[in-house]
């Protein structure tokens, strides 16, 4: 059974002085919740726009349900992508937007939309133009959830939503996903908030995919070792260092490797402290490592080692 739903091959998107997408290759499968993570401007929205044929790649191929989405009704009718800066017709109220969505999504659930509107305290009869940023986000979130499209993108859906509303969104998403499995792509830079919802994580940085792994595999794939700098450095000799912090003679070093139980025991015996690395920390470290601080970070690392030995 081939359950690939999205396939990107060698996608490039060039703007005048910027490579928004730089050779993106990606395979996404059905009925999973994906996290598309990365900094602002990393290329998340560009990638989603190209996959849904709202924008065009400079080169490369994007297949959804095995075909290009461009002008392809049989593909498009199964996709929902309300962008973060979504525009609505001038005179539209939220209720109009929902009735519009109902015309195009065969699985649209109006009762669910009504319930969500109540949850988010969204005024259904106020002009969308006059809504607050959070209410505007709520309109997009409701369309995304209630459309029950087989492939649904959420583009930083939480902008302007307070903590309560964001939690509400995550809760409703999990509940509804459990009852109606589909493929969800959740673009976010609030990683800690969504980490536990994700089954698979794709991290994009400056147009390149720098991480593409199951969330469960990532969990525990890195570790932070802290203790006296000498001991830490000796213990981690030859390992892939992602980040290093020092405080006096103490060091806290994050390595992109898991330790086996023998190594853990050894570390504890040496008086080192081991702490787990959250997905957010890992993404931040990896993104910064990719941002050129990696090279200088490695240099600093040896410098620090030398210093510590002096």
């Amino acid at each position: 059974m081939n359950d690939t739903i999205v396939e990107a091959r060698n996608l490039f998107k060039h703007y005048k002085d910027l490579n928004a997408l730089d050779n993106v290759n990606l395979n996404l499968s059905t009925n999973r919740i994906y996290g598309l993570l990365g900094r602002n401007g990393a290329g998340k929205t560009t990638l989603m726009s190209i996959l849904t044929a709202q924008a065009f790649a400079s080169s490369g191929e994007a297949l959804v349900f095995g075909a290009s989405a461009y002008e392809n009704d049989s593909v498009l009718s199964r996709i929902c992508f309300i962008r973060e800066s979504q525009k609505y017709p001038d005179d539209f109220q939220p209720q109009h937007a929902f009735r519009s969505a109902a015309l195009f999504y065969k699985d649209w659930d109006q009762q669910f939309a009504d319930r969500l509107a109540e949850d988010f305290q969204l005024p259904l009869k106020r002009r969308i133009k006059k809504l607050s940023r959070g209410q505007l986000s709520a309109v997009g979130v409701i369309i995304g959830l209630a459309s029950r499209a087989e492939l649904t993108f959420f583009d930083e859906p939480y902008l302007g939503l307070d903590a309560v509303a964001r939690q509400l969104f995550y809760d409703r998403l999990v509940e509804d996903y459990a009852d109606h499995p589909r493929t969800i792509i959740l673009s976010s830079h609030l990683i800690d908030e969504v980490a536990n919802l994700l089954e698979h994580v794709v991290v994009i940085d400056r147009g390149r995919i720098i991480m593409d792994a199951d969330a469960e595999d990532i969990r525990g794939s890195a570790v932070t070792v802290s203790g006296s700098a000498d001991t830490v450095d000796a213990f981690l000799m030859g390992r892939k260092v992602l980040h290093r912090e020092t405080l006096g003679s103490l060091a806290s070093v994050t390595v992109d490797e898991a330790l086996n139980s023998r190594e853990r025991a050894e570390a504890l015996e040496l008086g080192l402290e081991l702490s787990p690395v959250s997905l957010q920390q890992l993404v931040v470290r990896k993104t910064m490592a990719g941002a050129g601080t990696a090279a200088s970070g490695a240099e600093n690392f040896t410098d620090d080692v030398m210093e510590a030995r002096r």
């Binding site: 809760d171 999990v174 459990a178 009852d179 969330a215 469960e216 525990g220």
Partner: protein, 133 residues
């Protein structure tokens, strides 16, 4: 409740096992559905299902078609047996190794363990515990 130290499905499996061991999930009782676990812990339903399936595979839970998931008879004994074995590997072995390093005899060790479990039974306060140490 869920943390970053290890895969979430393992944490879910452990949580259910804890319930079985401490009796909050008696044998032959129904356990919550994976979707309920997912909603409660705010985790991906597939991950919750994976945690539950680990226990189904090892015979601790079983499925009743169309009804749900139940704790198997003998599950508690099975969990305790396995955890006892793990306890030996994780705690007792390092303990005896360390004791040997420090030249603590088996007899001394036994005395210490008895003292410690006595304390545990007294439901001692933190103060007493740290005083004893």
């Amino acid at each position: 409740m869920i943390d970053d130290s290890k895969p979430i499905f393992m944490q879910i499996a452990e949580l259910i096992e804890n319930g079985i061991v401490d009796g909050t999930m008696p044998e032959e009782s129904q356990v919550p559905s994976t979707n309920e676990f997912a909603a409660f812990h705010r985790i991906n339903p597939a991950t919750a299902a994976k945690g539950v399936n680990v226990l189904v595979d090892s015979g601790i839970l079983y499925k009743r078609r169309g009804i749900g998931m139940f704790v198997a008879t003998g599950a508690r004994a099975q969990v305790i047996a396995r955890r006892t074995e793990e306890f030996f590997e994780q705690y007792v072995k390092p303990l005896t190794l360390e004791a040997r390093k420090l030249g603590i005899s088996a007899e001394q060790l036994n005395t210490m363990i008895e003292r410690s479990s006595g304390l545990a039974q007294e439901t001692g306060t933190d103060k007493e515990r740290s005083a004893a140490l």
